[in-house]
Amino acid sequence: MRYGICFLMAAMLVLSSSCKGPAQEPTKPPEPVQRETAVDASSQRPAPEAPPILVQYADAVLSIGNLLQAQALSFPDIEEKYAVARPHIEGIDSLHQTSYAKEIPTALASIKAGESAEVNNHIVTKGLQHVTVLTIQGLLDKLIAADGEDAKKLIADIKTAYTAIEPTFKRRDETVYAGKPTLAPAAEAALAALESAQTKPALASAAMEFSTLLSKTYVLSILFEMKGIEEFCGSKTPDPAQCAVKRTEAGMYYRIMQPAVAKKDKKADAAIDKMIHSEHAVPKYASARDHLAKALTFTAKDLTF
């Protein structure tokens, strides 16, 4: 019996450490996006002040991301988590004229049926990210006009929503900044600045900084996937399956940034849209980078990797 107790403790210890480290290691070099929503346990903790619907939504988004990267997908679990996230998604759809409450279940059904699973996986995960970004942008917008307790609540909400997209910040740190924590710590700092802001200008300054980091992360994501399109669609012997996946990823990321780009530079919007969606238009990373930099107040140097 005593050996059993010792073993129980050892097993607990071993399994605990497995939860802190990478839960799943792919058999080949990991696809960037498959791990995009994987998070460590700490980032799943919601801010205590946040309203339950947003906490539940952020938790559900993280869980769906993790469940979708499992080798054997558990659809009852995914559907259960989606049911939790759905009310918030429907709310965002009605505010922003998006249609994720239809697109995401359709994509999930396609994955279940084994149809273009990888492409549809990206539609789900990036669609959820877009919903989260729209949520954060809405909260930032309200924050500037808010005071006192209302402002505190909004900041807590922003922090909660950020947990759902934090893996993308970390992932870009890995892929763009060679593993050097850059975007994620900067986002944390901007959130801390939001919390400590005492005056309206200080609040606006921190909100601008966070909003810019959000844009930068997604612009880098678009460019990262465009390099993938160049590789898989542009070579002499393209790989149509991977090309389609990369175009989907870039397209979904671009949906997140498209309104901001179109608002600032219609020509850049048209050019990037064509690069991503036209079958024969293989994007030139440098050209896309320059368009995005000009449209969104970045320098080409900021977006070069």
């Binding site: 497995s18 909100a207 002499k236 600032k264």
Partner: protein, 639 residues
């Protein structure tokens, strides 16, 4: 009374002698150029720290040498069109400001009248406009929270308090703001505005903010010489005293008089629009070539219906009847695209792409046409029919085919590749076929990749093929063979060095894991065998205890694992690991106990031996359990 007067005098004297407040005033953005931002403030601190937004590790310092309380400093060495953060040294508040964008850049600014500072701050955060313009005169203190971030103008000019104190302000009858591709002239004086029209430089868009009466007297003729290739007038007029909109001489006059309103104005070299916020009602200030392009709706409809030849005919008719239109380049591209993508007639497609590149070299579609031409020109003209057939299979037939039909198509492509062995197309087809076989028949795919590398060593795909062969072997879990292939690939494609080295390490790790299965199996089987051979032990009492431990631990581990179920790839893995671990823990003491009892006489020796054996048995059992269930968890052991 005298005492009261004396007290008052004392208080006033103390106030006069008191030190000025240490906290600096809210700073103001005075001027922005492409590489400098000028900031002014009042206070004792005369130094300013600044850094590119988000990069707090790149802080620069600038100070005002003048011995005054009013300071003006220039943050230098900046990049155009970028956001920078700054802070007066010693103060807590950080502000952001934007440098002037390049002349070719699209820009946006905000027009407002009678709205709150909060609304404008919201706009600042969401849109980062270049500057803000009030339609009516502003007081000295209004909108002071905006001024650290953007320059705020009114009809009289920049409203910064620091500038209002400068002598000579208001001497001109108007002023202009040069921001990116926009030149915005603000004045009610027709002479001043006419001067701006006459002196406009090509490539810029002129915006005039004035009154209806002044605008009506202007001559827009000189603007015609700056007409862009797409026939768009390079100017627009914003009328601040009316809400009417009209057009004259190809120039739009848009009335912006509306109380409590803000507008976002977007200007790029070919387009300008004004959006009323928050309603989002958009008015074009210049007709937009991009939004009006592709107007041959009928041609597009035909293509969408699948009537490709009819669509081409419609486009040809459109080109003929709209030869001078700025939409023709779009039609050229569409015709080429239909031949290329839908009809797979590459000779025709090449001719149309060529025509587009030669006739409209500045078209936005020309780079895409060049890409396709480059692709087609990689093949001999005689190869184009075979390329058409191959592309049709690759992009249409294969995707629509059943699995057996797909196999037949792969064979067909391989036959064509063999027939055209000396052509440029042959390795392309071979690579494609091998790629499709990776999942279906790894051995054959590897053979084809190797065949490609051997037959076409100079082809740019040879290195890729060697790497793909190694990848295929890895995916089929042939780790030893994959490792050799990766080593070979390392010599052929050194550009992938890091990826290949990582894959070699993975092969080594997987082989190590496989190797460890043998000693751990021997331990588990050895212990089980020895235990069965022991005459003593294995009493029912022992097994009851084991069963109790097993059940209790299964339950505990399963509940605990369920709380972190996202960490498991599936419920089956979760259950297998929980039950398996519990089984090992429950059975180990009962299995090992009899061996220790049989081997040693003293209790101390028995306990030591049993402890050692339990550890060995449990670790081996756990290894085998994880290896068979989900081997990636072996990373926990550093394996």
């Amino acid at each position: 009374m005298t005492r009261l007067r004396a007290s008052l005098f004392l208080i006033l004297a103390l106030c006069a002698c008191a030190e000025p407040p240490a906290t600096p005033s809210t700073p103001e953005l005075i001027e922005a150029s492409q590489d400098q931002l000028t900031i002014a403030w009042e206070g004792q601190a005369s130094e300013l720290e600044y850094w590119p937004l988000g990069k707090t590790d790149a802080v620069s310092l600038v100070s005002d040498e003048a011995d005054t309380r009013a300071h003006e400093v220039r943050m230098g060495g900046l990049e155009p069109g970028s956001l920078y953060s700054y802070r007066i040294r010693g103060a807590k508040e950080v502000y952001n400001a934007q440098t002037k964008p390049l002349a070719s850049s699209a820009v946006s600014f905000v027009l407002f009248d009678g709205v709150s500072q909060n609304e404008l701050l919201r706009q600042l955060v969401s849109d980062s406009p270049g500057f803000m313009m009030s339609l009516s005169a502003l007081s000295r203190t209004s909108f002071d929270e905006l001024r650290p971030f953007v320059a705020v103008y009114d009809p009289g000019g920049n409203t910064a308090a620091y500038l209002r104190r400068q002598p000579g302000r208001g001497g001109e009858s108007g002023y202009r703001i040069d921001w990116g591709c926009l030149v915005l002239a603000v004045s009610d004086d027709p002479a001043y505005l006419q001067k701006q029209i006459d002196s406009l430089t090509s490539g810029y868009t002129l915006g005039l903010l004035t009154t209806e009466e002044s605008a009506d007297s202007l001559d827009f003729g000189p603007l015609q010489k700056h007409l862009s290739a797409s026939s768009i007038a390079p100017g627009f007029v914003l009328l601040r005293d009316t809400d009417k909109t009209k057009e004259r001489g190809g120039v739009r006059f848009v009335g912006v008089k509306a109380p409590n309103t803000r507008y976002n104005v977007l200007v790029d070299p070919e387009f300008a629009s004004l959006t009323e916020l928050p309603a989002g009602i958009q008015t074009d200030l210049r007709p937009a070539p991009l939004s009006t392009k592709r107007t041959c709706a009928e041609c597009r409809k035909l293509a969408d219906k699948g009537a490709y030849r009819a669509s081409v005919a419609a486009y040809l008719a459109f080109i003929e009847s709209n030869a001078e239109s700025h939409l023709v380049d779009d039609a050229y591209f569409e015709v080429a695209n239909i031949y290329d993508e839908k009809l797979f007639e590459f000779v025709e497609a090449t001719a149309w792409y060529d025509a587009l590149v030669n006739t409209y070299p500045k078209s936005g579609l020309t780079p895409f046409a060049k890409e396709r031409l480059k692709y087609f020109r990689g093949f001999e003209a005689a190869e184009l029919p075979a390329l058409e057939e191959f592309e049709k299979i690759r992009r249409v037939s294969f995707l629509a085919a059943s699995e057996s039909a797909q196999d037949e198509l792969i064979e067909q492509v391989l036959r064509r590749s063999d027939e055209a062995r000396n052509s440029t197309l042959s390795p392309v087809m071979l690579y494609w076929a091998a790629n499709q076989l990776r999942q279906k028949d790894a051995t054959r795919a590897v053979a084809l990749f190797r065949k490609l590398a051997a037959q076409y060593p100079d082809d740019e795909q040879a290195g890729e093929a060697v790497y793909a062969a190694a990848e295929t072997l890895y995916e089929s879990r042939e780790y030893a063979l994959a490792r050799e292939s990766y080593r070979f690939a390392l010599a052929v494609t050194p550009v992938r060095k890091n990826t290949i080295l990582a894959q070699i390490q993975r092969c080594d790790r997987n082989l190590r894991r496989r190797f460890l299965v043998w000693p751990t199996s021997i331990v588990v089987l050895g212990v089980l065998g020895t235990s069965s051979a022991c005459r003593r032990g294995h009493s029912r009492k022992h097994w009851k205890k084991s069963a109790a431990v097993f059940l209790g631990m299964s339950l505990l581990l399963a509940i605990w694992a369920w709380t972190i179920r996202e960490q498991f790839p599936s419920d089956t893995v979760l259950a297998s690991l929980a039950i398996g671990s519990a089984a090992i823990a429950g059975a180990a003491p009962s299995i090992v106990g009899p061996i220790a009892e049989a081997a040693f006489r003293t209790t101390a020796m028995r306990v030591a031996a049993a402890g050692l054996l339990v550890s060995l048995f449990s670790l081996s059992g756990l290894y085998l359990l994880i290896w068979t269930t989900f081997e990636h968890y072996l990373m926990v052991f550093g394996l």
